[in-house]
Symmetry: D2
Subunit: 244 residues, 4 copies
């Protein structure tokens, strides 16, 4: 086996990064959009004067699945997470994505290793399984296997780059645990759809079973969003977290 080149900067992470880059998203945006149905051009000026009725209107829209009023807003997040998380993330088509490119830059040696509290055992079969904590042995195995494979893969990547091989070719050896970075822009309707599928809540009308790592992203996104649109977030919960 060839000698490992110098890769001092390798980093193992168990978390994900979510930052709110910017937002133009308020409960009032839902209200003026909904009221245009019945108020026409007065809907914008009525928003403030009828604030006390907004909560009821938003609950009604959510419950009866009038979704479009929840689209007149925008949130941009910066996310860092492993590639296997981004693979699931980008299946959501009602959003805008720009991601770090393995063709245009050398990818950095940052890799995912599960934290001790990450459940490791899947009990039961597809559709009816639960996740249970791993044993100490399993955690040791996972940690050591992952660290070793990642280190060797990145060293191999580096050797190919050093030999003049194009980044887009050499990256083939990198694991799906490699961290990537992206900007995601979406509106609250799309975000609620994402949350309904990517968070697990026992009391949801349609329980979902997301992989824990994307749920970690979803939970942070939700934490940023809720204080911006508190009436909408409360109505979402009250409606069983079914996106309108």
């Amino acid at each position: 086996m060839p000698e490992l080149p110098d890769v001092p900067e390798i980093e193992f992470r168990s978390d994900v990064t979510v930052e709110l880059v910017k937002a133009s998203a308020r409960d009032e945006d839902v209200v003026f959009a909904a009221r245009v149905s019945t108020k026409g051009e007065q809907s914008l000026s009525d928003v403030a004067s009828e604030a006390e009725r907004s909560a009821g209107l938003i609950r009604y829209l959510m419950r009866d699945r009038h979704g479009s009023p929840f689209e007149h807003n925008s949130l941009t997040f910066f996310v860092q997470a492993p590639i296997f998380v981004f693979r699931e993330f980008q299946r959501h088509r009602i959003a805008s994505y720009n991601e770090e490119s393995g063709r245009y830059r050398q990818l950095r040696p940052v890799f995912y290793v599960p934290a001790r509290e990450r459940a490791l055992q899947q009990i039961g079969k597809a559709g009816h399984y639960t996740f249970e904590p791993g044993t100490d042995e399993q955690h040791e195995l996972v940690t050591s296997e992952m660290r070793r494979v990642y280190t060797e893969a990145y060293a191999s990547y580096q050797r190919m780059l050093d030999a003049g091989v194009a980044r887009e070719v050499a990256r083939a050896v990198l694991p799906v645990a490699t961290y990537s970075s992206m900007y995601v822009t979406l509106n609250a309707r799309s975000l609620m759809n994402f949350l309904s599928l990517r968070t697990h809540r026992a009391d949801a009308a349609f329980p979902s079973h997301p992989q824990r790592e994307i749920e970690m992203c979803a939970e942070q996104m939700e934490a940023f969003w809720r204080p911006l649109m508190p009436l909408t977030a409360a109505a979402f919960d009250a409606a069983g977290r079914v996106a309108p």
Copy 2:
């Protein structure tokens, strides 16, 4: 013919209303989204320090049709225009709409009549026609016909409502010239697509022949948008107004 009920408030308009309700849209949003490809997590902090290179980057993205960086922004417009304009408008699927409802409120008697400068004659056949000014006789005819038909249609609508007929049924008689109100939210990429199809410019790479009334909306939307994203707007023009 039955007596006309009292409809004193009838209004004839030759223009459209476009207001920018809110916007979160800057050239910098394009830059940070594009730079994540090559800079990863540094892309946001680099935006300011490399401002002088932004124009070149934006021109490159536009010319080579890298569209996604132009999506991380949002503009919400309030538009009042005749229904026949909204019919064309809402065929653009990458946008969010909420519109005044003829089911939930009594529509107001506001109707479109072409201004004197509106070309009235279509010369040539489909795909190769031009629009030429109308004669005085044509303008008089159009004005008198429209005013009369609108007035009678609205009176008929009012009579049916007065007799207890549901709004959603009675509105069937209203003309497509009836004004409606809506909120539209879209991003700059979608807006550029809209502008490329709904404005006529002799120097566009793909000349379009929009109906004048929707072009009036498009021109006002463009006027609001250009100062918000001046580099993007200039690059759009330079690229023959082909949306990226």
Copy 3:
């Protein structure tokens, strides 16, 4: 009032036309798409051999809202309905539309008049109303008002065309009851979303209150679709007609 020009061909309709132009849509398409998750490249060959398990799989996908397997199919409908129906129809963005153009052809004098059984009275307020049958007087009023307004509007349209006014201008006087024609192409997932919103069923999980005229389109579309994908249609009903 000016003399009416000769418009012998005027037609009043109370129904809508829906034809299935073509379809590539079978329950098997759902099964192979879903099974790729667990079977990879064997999913297509397994469709037939495991037919007996398909119903259960489809019910599971529907109930747990795994929507994407319902997208690998396509249905194209030809629809003729009043413009006010098309206005609602085209708000559904996950579909492809091509429609007759009032800019490129003279629109035909075909107009909507409600049938005797069409409920005319809306009782109660927004969000809580019901529709009740109209009285004989109301029906007579509606019929006579509509026929008269339509006839006059079309005569006016004809006069403007005869005077050389462009079709796109003259059509402004035509009522939203004017029939138009379009092709609509969508997949079963999008169709179920349409049906969930545009049909009224007392037993639906999220009851909807569509205008009767678009419901007439929806019912005919559903009647064409159900025999093509009977397991999917049954699962849709069983899941409270919530689109996956």
Copy 4:
């Protein structure tokens, strides 16, 4: 280093699999959709009788970027390619995807290794580079590095699975070169957009620089599509391969 478990079935591939599962896509579908603008309900019956004019109509639609008539058709492909290809593929949002799941099944040990003819050297900088053939030494290095890393990664994956670790956790070590399987359904308009971005043609109006491996998918998809819609495909080329 731990002993490798038995993984006899490991497979190295340099190609991709594309199969046309089904298609409902003909040039006639473009024609009837386009003609509804001017012919209304006669558009379907006119398709055959005016076949000789279809080529001209399709060229006109393509050149003037009237895109919607190209949407009333559907093609479903089965694709097997490395994960790094699917990552790029699934960024195209106007398509339907179902993919093999690393959560629901054990992924198979099939990995990508570039063929001898795959260019390995990227010369020049972003936006202006070319790809040049690799040297023999580079090819040997790439082949040996990749085979080794893949083999070790899969052995590690297998060890974790054997120790009872959940598939979704263990797969973190697998490289982005791992093959996956998916079904993709899209229409011709979306396909042309895909082809315009994912094939490199010197004579294209907007030259694109796709990674070779996704271009291999695109070329096979195009080869299946062209004989189904020969007039559309010819018009696409004639218009500089700009999607309408």
